[in-house]
């Protein structure tokens, strides 16, 4: 194996393109090093992207934020502006692992590792985040919802990497929230994760909503029917139970040691509903 730590995106793309299927990006390494050690992957070259400025920077952009793909969970948590604007995305990032894992784990790694249970992915999908991808043919934007294609599989072509993730500007009374269910209080993988991002009008009526679920299918899902269920409502009981039903209906989970299909399907509805209520409270506080 070869290790390279280029300073520029161009150099990183060059190294990856040259390596073809035998190259891997290294961000925080909290998935990659585990896989290297288990020999589930045996790359010829590992390209450490942490010395590239864009990948390590959070900057405001057009009322939203551009987050470098290798910025760590701990750094996101310490960014007051980001935390205030996108509390759901930040709380999802802060759920990853322990303090030690937080010091390294990135959004780019969480996304590109393509685990169906990745915590930040439903939150980013609910936020309508867009990945800025760079490769041998230049830059392209791809909605985070379309980056993962299946367990361990992404839509990235050979030589491509995620440079940054863009969160859009929020309208005044909008807010997001992320909840996950795990059997313990820390250090476990989601049985279900639910991200909600919604907007209220002056009367507290919901004008837009995006609901996304994790760990209930081969990849995180946007559930348009769940969002539609609360649009036009004040999130009354009827609307919230419709949202929960739509969320459960979208699930196509597996049985595993963390939860059965039936259990995951039920919990997805409950969690989506609770996340919507948290987002509603947050949006209401933002007059």
């Amino acid at each position: 194996m070869r290790y390279e730590a280029p300073q520029t995106l161009e150099a990183a793309v060059g190294l990856l393109a040259e390596a073809g299927d035998n190259g891997r990006v290294l961000a925080g390494g909290t998935d990659l090093l585990v896989q290297l050690r288990a020999e589930t992957i045996e790359p010829e070259i590992v390209v450490d992207v942490k010395r590239i400025t864009e990948l390590r920077t959070v900057s405001p952009e057009d009322g939203g934020f551009r987050i470098g793909a290798a910025v760590t969970g701990a750094e996101l948590g310490e960014h007051d502006g980001l935390r205030a604007a996108w509390p759901g995305v930040v709380e999802a990032a802060e759920l990853i692992g322990s303090t030690q894992i937080q010091g390294r784990a990135s959004l780019g790694g969480n996304l590109c590792n393509a685990s169906p249970a990745a915590d930040t992915v439903p939150a980013l999908i609910a936020a309508d985040a867009v990945a800025s991808i760079i490769g041998p043919n230049g830059r392209r934007d791809l909605a985070v919802a379309d980056v993962v294609s299946g367990p361990g599989q992404t839509a990235l072509a050979r030589g491509e990497l995620v440079a940054s993730i863009r969160l859009p500007s929020q309208s005044a009374r909008s807010a997001d929230a992320y909840l996950r269910f795990i059997p313990r209080t820390e250090m476990d993988i989601a049985v279900v994760g639910a991200g909600v991002n919604l907007t209220l009008d002056g009367d507290g009526r919901c004008t837009a909503a995006r609901v996304a679920l994790g760990a209930v299918a081969e990849r995180a899902l946007l559930v348009p029917a769940a969002g539609d269920a609360i649009v036009g409502s004040t999130l009354d009981e009827a609307a919230l139970s419709q949202l929960a039903e739509a969320a459960s209906a979208a699930c196509r989970p597996i049985d595993d040691k963390r939860g059965t299909k039936i259990y995951r399907t039920k919990v997805a509805g409950v969690l989506a509903r609770r996340a919507a209520e948290i987002a509603q409270t947050r949006a209401g506080e933002r007059a």
């Binding site: 730590a5 585990v34 290297l36 894992i101 820390e186």
Partner: protein
């Protein structure tokens, strides 16, 4: 395959080493630099026995490549005491008997120091969450938490 030539600052000293590209920082510390205080419990980021500071961040040295430390600052348990003078956390761990076999202890101490350096007055809940990535098979955690809380109180001067 060619080795990586790395210069890093470890516990305040500039150190040079050669490592294999796939070698972890933990292996470099233990096997090449003979800083064997950092332990390997799991090798997969779950136990925290390998906790070190990398450029001021608490990380698992088993999930860092040795090559990544180029130009960076690493702090390990070996840098915690000043000569014969133990850090207050080390004193309190002895006083409270917050260790039995001691395998988790270096990692717990490095992690606890990272917490107290940024938050001198943590609640018990904050301490427990901060240390959730440090597993201990012996103590049942209670004495560890008490030792950290007591150190924090002492260092604040009450």
């Amino acid at each position: 395959m060619s080795k990586c030539h790395v210069t890093a600052t470890i516990n305040g000293d500039e150190v040079e080493y050669l490592c294999e590209p796939e070698e972890t920082l933990l292996d470099v510390l233990r096997d090449q630099l003979f800083l064997t205080g950092s332990k390997e419990g799991c090798g997969s980021g779950d136990c925290g026995a390998c906790s070190v500071m990398l450029d001021g961040r608490l990380v698992c040295a088993c999930l860092v490549l040795g090559a990544e430390a180029q130009g960076r600052k690493v702090e390990t348990i070996e840098g915690m005491a000043h000569g014969e003078t133990l850090h207050p956390l080390q004193e309190k761990f002895l006083e409270h008997a917050a260790l039995q076999c001691g395998v988790c202890t270096p990692g717990v101490l490095v992690a606890a120091k990272a917490l107290l350096d940024r938050n001198p007055d943590p609640t018990e809940t904050e301490v427990r969450y901060w240390l959730a990535g440090n597993l201990c098979r012996c103590t049942g955690y209670d004495k560890i938490i008490r030792a950290v809380m007591d150190t924090a109180a002492e260092m604040r001067g009450n």
